[in-house]
């Protein structure tokens, strides 16, 4: 009985994260936000694009802006290979794509495994607020509003 209660308690604060890597770092993003993952494809440029924006793509008739996560998270740009993917997420009822180096896995992370990220200086720091240590690997959980700039009215 007690065991049963324990188990539900644990699975209640378990959450699924999509793990992807940019440069040498593994990041996690709440799977609930992810609509689909598509392979990298040619991107149409947009006028006066900010550096982190690669352009727009056409996903089954919908125009989707695509951000380059390398640049957005402060890594040096690099040619994309065939492991690169576009993670399409739903933001404020619109689709936005994020180009990442590769997509790894979907894992469960419980609340116990999450900790606040240490205050270290660095460009991408406010972009990750939580860090998870699962199976001896460190995953930084993406702070989606900060990364995609939906809380600052830019």
């Amino acid at each position: 009985m007690d065991d049963y209660l324990m188990e539900t308690a644990v699975s209640d604060d378990m959450q699924e994260y999509l793990i992807f890597s940019v440069d040498t770092i593994d990041f996690g993003i709440d799977i609930g936000l992810v609509q689909e993952i598509i392979e990298i494809q040619p991107v149409s440029k947009i006028p006066n694009a900010l550096p982190f924006c690669s352009g727009i793509i056409n996903i089954r008739g919908t125009i989707v802006p695509v951000l380059d996560m390398r640049i957005k998270l402060g890594f040096p740009p690099r040619e994309y290979d065939d492991r690169a993917c576009i993670i399409v997420i739903m933001l404020e009822s619109e689709l936005v794509g994020a180009i990442v180096d590769s997509v790894q896995d979907v894992i469960h992370i419980s609340a116990q495994e999450l900790s606040d990220s240490p205050a270290v200086s660095g460009d991408h720091l406010n972009y990750t607020t939580k860090i998870a240590c699962v199976d001896d690997k460190i995953r930084q959980i993406l702070n989606v509003p900060a990364v995609f700039g939906i809380d600052d009215e830019a």
Binding site: S44, K45, I46, P47, N48, A49, L50, F52, C53, I56, I57, N58, R60, G61, T62, I63, V64, P65, L67, L91, E92, E94, L95, V96, F148, G149, I150, A154
Partner: protein, 689 residues
């Protein structure tokens, strides 16, 4: 609400459509001061359908009113409608009824109680019917020579029965056709048995020569109880065989059981009043038959209606899928690799597929577009009613009603247009005496025009009234503290456009139609929702013109495709004057560093799109690129780009909102379009460059 939502939607939609076509019929007829036989049939048909549908939905007031109108038109029809002196009254009462119906539908849409009282209208109808009957009788006696003359007289009193009897009087007689007794039971928890029974009767009516049913009165809850207890009995005479009848009945929802028995001789279950009416039935048969035929005719014309209603969302997804098909098709074509094998048949099949898909795309694109004519017809009605009310004589001229805009645009355009026209009738056009004094024709004129320009749909409302008063507007504006700069600095146009500011209304007294405190600011706000703009200009004593400009969001555009570096653009063809290889000598720089070009003797400023849009891989040598001469209502200039790529018809899509966070400036881009090959093209907003 008892009925489920989708049924309600369909009911509202269909009834609105019917009322709209009815109004058009009435307008067509009002010019001739009468309706012709075809038009009378049309009114009859519309009322019949509304009656049926409303009764089905339990909207009794609407059903009753429709029924009374139907009765009246039955009389008119039987009299051929000719030579009636009541036509003006008939038009008025039908128009009022249409307003009543529309009002009730509006309440229904807002989920408000449908509390409109049709009694005054019914009263008017009754009086009118009485007058008509007097006249009909007179007509009948004078036309005794005609053998059919007795028929209308026989039908008229029957048709003028009180509205409570929804179904025609029960008639049961023996003829050539066999007759049957049908017993129906509905599911225990089906609810509204009496309404369902009415639905069944509507179906039975189509196949039967005569019919009767028990309970006779289907309007009350008591009938529902009786049906629940004893079942619903229908007696009918028909040429159809029992299996066919059964097939029709089987379509009924919530049907638990039904039996179809043919009756030989008398049956004790036949209600007394039906038995008694047997004798009369024979006498009335001829009259009945004509009515029956009329009913059949009306069903035929229902079947002829060519429109169905579709949810707009479905059209959106259809459009998207067709776009995908196009893309998939071009992928198939380009990947077809047969090596050395001959593939002539593939080529021709592919070509055929290509043209079919193109056709499909065109059709889908055109489905969402509807002409503004329906909207404009509404205005006709408004002008008619208001000019009667104000004792002004006003003609509404409509131009370009075939202009097609997206469905959404129509929805948003309706209210602002109503408001502007109200203003024009109420405030703009003077009363006949004043007009004569000013040397104008006694009847005023409002011109409503729609037209497409490259990047916009433009709707103008022009009246030949007194125009706006510069002084009054200034006075009012300064009273309300709406002036932002001194009067002397403002142009006339700026002053006129003050009327769009919130809290501005020059008319002191409140009238039924305009000046309810909500002013032109609401117009501007509504148009703003669809990204449009509205301006006003006026000439004292000559009139006022309102110009509504709506961007082509979601509309279809013919555009020229060109590219700047790796970016593809579409510019609306209408804005394009010419595209040429420039003569480098014609291009010079003014002292401020702006590039200018001399084209056909005129000098235009030259915008390098690669600089404007910050494209790094574009042609910079003037000799290697091309020049396009662009003109809109507001400006005329030239752009410099890499090269032209042909002409396309595209659906304009909105740019995603998120894109504003990805770019420092999206000025000059009005939207985007996906071409057949799946490529994304940005649509140039000419006025934004």
């Amino acid at each position: 609400m008892i009925a489920d939502e989708s049924m309600l939607d369909v009911y509202i939609y269909e009834t609105q459509q019917l009322l709209e076509s009815l109004e058009n019929t009435l307008f067509a007829g009002e010019n001739d001061k009468r309706l012709n036989a075809e038009q009378i049939d049309e009114v009859f048909r519309v009322m019949h359908t509304i009656k049926g549908a409303s009764a089905m939905m339990e909207f009794e007031n609407m059903a009753k009113l429709a029924h009374s109108l139907e009765d009246m038109f039955a009389i008119i029809r039987d009299n051929n409608g000719s030579g009636l002196s009541e036509w003006p009254d008939i038009f008025d009462v039908v128009f009022s009824a249409v307003s009543y119906f529309n009002g009730e539908l509006a309440k229904l849409l807002e989920k408000a109680p449908m509390d409109g009282d049709p009694a005054p209208l019914m009263e008017r109808l009754k009086l009118l019917v009485a007058r008509l009957q007097g006249e009909t009788a007179a007509a009948a006696t004078t036309q005794q020579a005609a053998p059919e003359a007795a028929v209308p007289a026989a039908v008229a009193p029957a048709a003028a029965k009180p509205a409570e009897t929804m179904a025609p009087a029960p008639v049961y007689g023996k003829g050539e056709e066999a007759y049957y007794k049908i017993k129906l039971f509905f599911d225990e928890n089906s609810q509204m048995e009496h309404i369902r029974a009415f639905g069944v009767i509507q179906n039975i009516k189509k196949i039967s020569l005569r019919y009767a049913h028990v309970p006779q009165n289907l309007d009350t809850e008591a009938a529902a109880d009786e049906i629940r207890r004893n079942g619903f009995l229908i007696f009918l005479q028909t040429g159809h065989n029992p299996d066919e009848i059964k097939a029709i009945l089987d379509e009924t929802l919530f049907l638990k059981s039904c039996s179809v028995l043919s009756i030989e001789g008398d049956d004790e279950e036949i209600p007394v009043e039906i038995r008694q009416s047997k004798e009369q039935a024979a006498a009335a048969a001829s009259g009945r038959q004509t009515e029956q035929q009329a009913a059949e005719n009306s069903f035929e014309s229902v079947a002829k209606q060519n429109f169905i209603s579709v949810n707009v969302n479905k059209l959106d997804s259809l459009l998207n899928i067709v776009g995908e098909i196009v893309t998939a098709q071009s992928m198939v074509m380009s990947n077809a690799d047969f090596g050395s094998l001959a593939h002539d048949s593939f080529d021709s099949a592919a070509q055929q597929l290509h043209s079919l898909i193109n056709e499909l795309q065109d059709i889908v694109m055109s489905i969402r577009m509807i002409p503004v004519s329906t909207l404009f017809q509404k205005m006709r009605r408004l002008v008619r009613d208001m000019s009667k009310k104000f004792g002004k004589n006003i003609e509404l001229e409509i131009i370009g009603e075939e202009t097609e805009v997206d469905k959404n645009v129509i929805d948003y355009l309706s209210d602002p247009l109503l408001h502007i026209i109200r203003n024009s009738v109420d405030h703009g056009i003077e009363d006949p005496e004043t007009r004569k004094k000013r040397g104008k024709p006694a009847s005023g004129k409002i011109t409503l025009e729609a037209r497409m320009t490259g990047s916009d749909v433009i709707v103008t409302v022009a009246d030949d009234g007194g125009g706006l008063s510069r002084e009054k507007i200034l006075k009012k504006a300064s009273e309300k503290g709406l002036l932002t700069k001194s009067e002397s600095e403002m142009t006339d146009k700026e002053i006129y456009n003050l009327i769009f500011l919130p809290g501005f209304s020059t008319k002191d007294e409140v009238t039924e139609y305009s000046g309810r405190g909500v002013g032109m600011d609401v117009v501007r706000k509504n148009i703003g929702y669809i990204g449009g703009s509205v301006t006003v200009d006026s000439e004292p004593g000559k009139g006022t013109i309102h110009t509504i400009r709506i961007p082509l969001t979601l509309t279809i555009v013919d555009g020229m495709k060109f590219n700047v570096g790796s970016m593809n653009f579409i510019v609306p063809t209408v804005s394009v004057r010419s595209a040429v290889k420039p003569n480098v000598e014609d291009i010079f720089t003014d002292p401020e560093g702006h590039e200018m070009i001399m084209l056909q003797g005129n000098v235009y400023s030259l915008i390098r799109l690669s600089e404007f849009f910050n494209v790094d891989d574009a042609v910079t040598e003037l000799g290697e690129g091309m020049i396009m001469h662009i003109a809109s209502e507001e400006k005329e200039f030239c752009i410099f780009f890499d090269h032209l790529d042909g002409e396309y018809q595209v659906v304009v899509k909105k740019l995603p909102n998120y894109l504003k966070r990805c770019s420092s400036s999206l000025a000059g881009i009005g939207g985007c379009a996906i071409l057949g090959d799946g490529s994304i093209n940005l649509i140039i907003d000419v006025n934004g460059l």
